[in-house]
Subunit: 180 residues, 2 copies
DNA sequence: GATAATGGCCGAATGATGTTAGGTATCAAT
DNA sequence: ATTGATACCTAACATCATTCGGCCATTATC
């Protein structure tokens, strides 16, 4: 399993991803432990050919890395919440970005809309969430936060390689003049 | 790499996760392609011992699966957005849940707060987002949606095994009576 | 239109790694 | 003290990743 070729994170993918690459990606996103022989069989390639493709996808940065997906509840993170942070001025202050160092913080985005920053956090309970929120409030320029505590998660998965080619026409849309 | 032991998704983890398991999880979340020899070296175990631990973590469901993490932009998903969906009645209608079949939809949660459902979606552009929103609106009972389009992502990672033992006291908090 | 060059693939051989087996130490309960 | 269970180790084996050489298709060049 030693990747002798250096996987240096080169600049973003220059070449195009074809249908074969997409099938390989789909398989690896679902299960990254398949042998190259099985992977090749699934997509219609030999093991070395599949390996060569995967190596290229890694080198080009399309495959960032292989990761173990763990069950949050098992590691003491039963509470998931999305935190919207309203900030004065420009929200990306170093003090606010420092919360990314906590392992409870999984995502930090700046968003367009009525709020500046959006965090996805996972804590053991509401008490720990309060402790994290206190850290967020502690950052200068933070005006307010709104937390959306997740009650149930129906779907949660990493980025998928598939894309929807054409979106269905809405069937129950309001009549619009000149809707082509 | 063939896991001869069946990894049947048994009921949730019965036994406790110790510090060694946490270190193994931390290593595998970062890079699931390490050899068991390297993994053992990193956490202070032999290769078979590390393997045994990993096998147990998989069987107990702590490790759900190994997945390839791909760069969304490389597969034509440069636009990330969080969509809040307000619904009349109980939001979990089959028609709304059907949007989970689109590969653009990565997360579906029901949340507490002023909205009922929260989706994380990744599309190629705003036009595709519009097509997806049309599908959401098409579900009966959907009153309104609010979309937060991500401008920049500063952090995005899968669930981490680490937990913060004690949260720092906020340094700039308002004086509170009898704050112990 | 012939030919060289490139890219992608395959089959087979080799080396690294996953995996099993057997044995030892530690700890808890009998 | 003895038994049983658990977790670990070393060593051997089986499997797989990886490399190599050659083949075929396509494209560029003469």
């Amino acid at each position: 399993m030693k990747e002798t070729d250096d996987i240096r994170p080169t600049t973003s993918a220059p070449q195009q991803i074809d249908a074969m690459d997409r099938r390989i990606l789909a398989a690896l996103v679902e299960d990254a432990t398949v042998s190259y022989a099985d992977l090749g069989k699934r997509v219609g390639l030999s093991a070395p050919a599949a390996h060569e493709r995967v190596k290229r996808l890694k080198r080009s940065g399309v495959i960032q890395r292989m990761a173990a997906l763990i069950e949050p509840k098992a590691v003491g993170k039963g509470l998931l919440a999305f935190v919207h942070v309203d900030t004065r001025g420009w929200g990306k202050s170093p003090a606010l970005m420092a919360v990314a160092n906590y392992p409870e913080v999984e995502e930090v985005h700046s968003v367009a809309g009525d709020t500046c920053m959006l965090l996805k956090v996972r804590t053991e309970n509401t008490h720990a969430l309060e402790g994290l929120l206190a850290q967020i409030y502690d950052a200068p320029g933070v005006l307010a936060t709104r937390s959306y505590v997740v009650l149930s998660t129906y779907l949660e998965r990493p980025p998928q390689p598939g894309i929807t080619a054409s979106w269905p026409r809405p069937k129950a849309s309001l009549p619009v003049a000149a809707a082509q």
